[in-house]
Amino acid sequence: MNGDFHYYATYCAAVIAGYSHPEAMDICYCAQFVDHCTKTILNSINGPEYAATTQLQSEMIDMKTDKNGLREITRIWASFHFLPRDLYAERPGTTTRYLKKYRMIAGPNGDLVKDTVELAKNNTLQAVGIAMHVLADTWAHANFAGTPSFVINNTDNYFDELIPTDNGFKRRHIEFGHNPAAKENPEKGEYTASIYQASENSIMNLGHGRAGHLPDYSFIRYAYVPAWNDYYEIIKDNPHDYLHAFAQMVYALQYLRGMSSSFEKDTYAWEAVAPYEDEIKRLIAVRRTDDTEDWKALGERITGQTIRPFRLDEYFEEYRRVSKKDRTDTFLEAFFDAAMDHKNMIIQRIVESGNDIAGKPVNLDSEGSR
């Protein structure tokens, strides 16, 4: 998902769930910061490298894709952007090597989502924000894996957009361009994606690169054949998924505020969302690549407050100003702690399933922050 959802929609979900404006601002900042917290940023503010929740293109370009390099990539992407749906998924007749990657396929309502939300219970707002980012991405990035894999993440030329008509949908073939500088045009169906690379561990085969930005556009429905689905087509209905992601976020946030005693999978706060559902459906369905204005307007109407735009370095000065031993009370320290705890938890679950694809959790006391 993009900033419009991770920042503004998360704000909306937080206030609908009962958080105050300042609390919702902290939550949505952290939800969005997950898409920016790279090793490069961390090094620039002397933060702990293990807290990285994403990677820059430049960080990945020259990375080795040996076993350790792949583990490094997988730890980050599977933990924060492509949470595996089922670490014990079976596919009869396949090899162990294949299963290790197959089990990394992301999707909503897996056990790890429950673990993620529960980890944020009675925790900081930073932990809540991280959990919301991870939860939202399980919907948008479903059916792709957060580890480089040609046999899982590749797609082929069978890619059609389903455009709503008066009596159903019409199919329009999508021919992806591969020019990173090209602007996408949803009206003409002009989209870009990563280039075909028949190498198992190439970073071109990480996540949803082969589907371009389509998973992150709320309006789009498309049909394609993922490499892992045995020649069967999948129809990705983003309007449906985004609405469910939002309603599930509200439910999760209600749980985290103590309004319910447990967080269950496949459960949504439809009652709380009901007053806004029509408006959300409308804004999700508009054919554009950025819904910021509408989400912002909705959030400001609900609270009567102004949602300040996301500013990446909002808390950098506070963090830089204090010495290492005094960082405990800073905003970013709480984010880094929550990120490292979450990452370790996910890696531990992956290890428990008998999969070494993400390596082992690290001893956080030796990583510098604690």
């Binding site: 090597r97 294949y98 993922p226």
Partner: protein, 174 residues
């Protein structure tokens, strides 16, 4: 990606070395043949192993198997050429190089179609193909054929190295 860059530089250097070998050493083309045999056998086996452990379960994975079998086939054929007149070995080596030139040209047109970088690929493919055609025209003069073949190896190797040192055009969706 850094592995790919190093691989490209090494293969470029290897091509230049082979060209020197072929010119400087008597029957140096046997070394080139041996190198093809080893590299293609290794690559073929790797592809076939990859197919049976991974790509077999993938949509369109059988192309990985075809590729592996083709490589192994070419490697085995290279291994049978140790007892033929040298001119046939040269024709085989020129044929392999011409094939790679043709693939470069096709890839260039494909890249152009999807707005990726294509000019260097096209240039490399065209130069390789032209030199190979020249070599075939000069087939009666074994020395000329050898020199032209070496020139195309050197130009190909040089362009691989240059390409490896260019900033990578990587498009990773985040």
């Amino acid at each position: 990606m850094i592995g790919k860059r190093i691989g490209s530089i090494l293969s470029g250097l290897a091509m230049i070395l082979f060209a020197i070998l072929v010119i400087a050493v008597d029957e140096g083309y046997y070394f080139v043949l041996l190198a093809y045999l080893c590299v293609l056998t290794g690559a073929g086996i790797r592809y076939i192993h990859y197919y049976f452990t991974m790509a077999k379960f993938m949509t369109g994975g059988r192309y990985v198997l075809y590729r592996g079998i083709l490589m192994l086939d070419v490697a085995v054929f290279a291994g049978t050429l140790n007892d033929v007149p040298p001119i046939y070995i040269m024709v085989y080596l020129i044929g392999l190089l011409a094939f790679s030139g043709a693939v470069d040209i096709f890839r260039a047109f494909d890249s152009r179609r999807v707005h990726a970088r294509w000019k260097m690929k096209l240039f490399r493919g065209v130069i390789t193909l032209l030199l190979c055609i020249l070599a075939v025209i000069s087939l009666k003069e074994t020395d000329a054929v050898t020199i032209i073949y070496c020139l195309s190896l050197i130009s190909n190797g040089g362009m691989r190295i240059i390409n490896a040192l260019r900033p990578a055009e990587v498009f990773v969706i985040q």
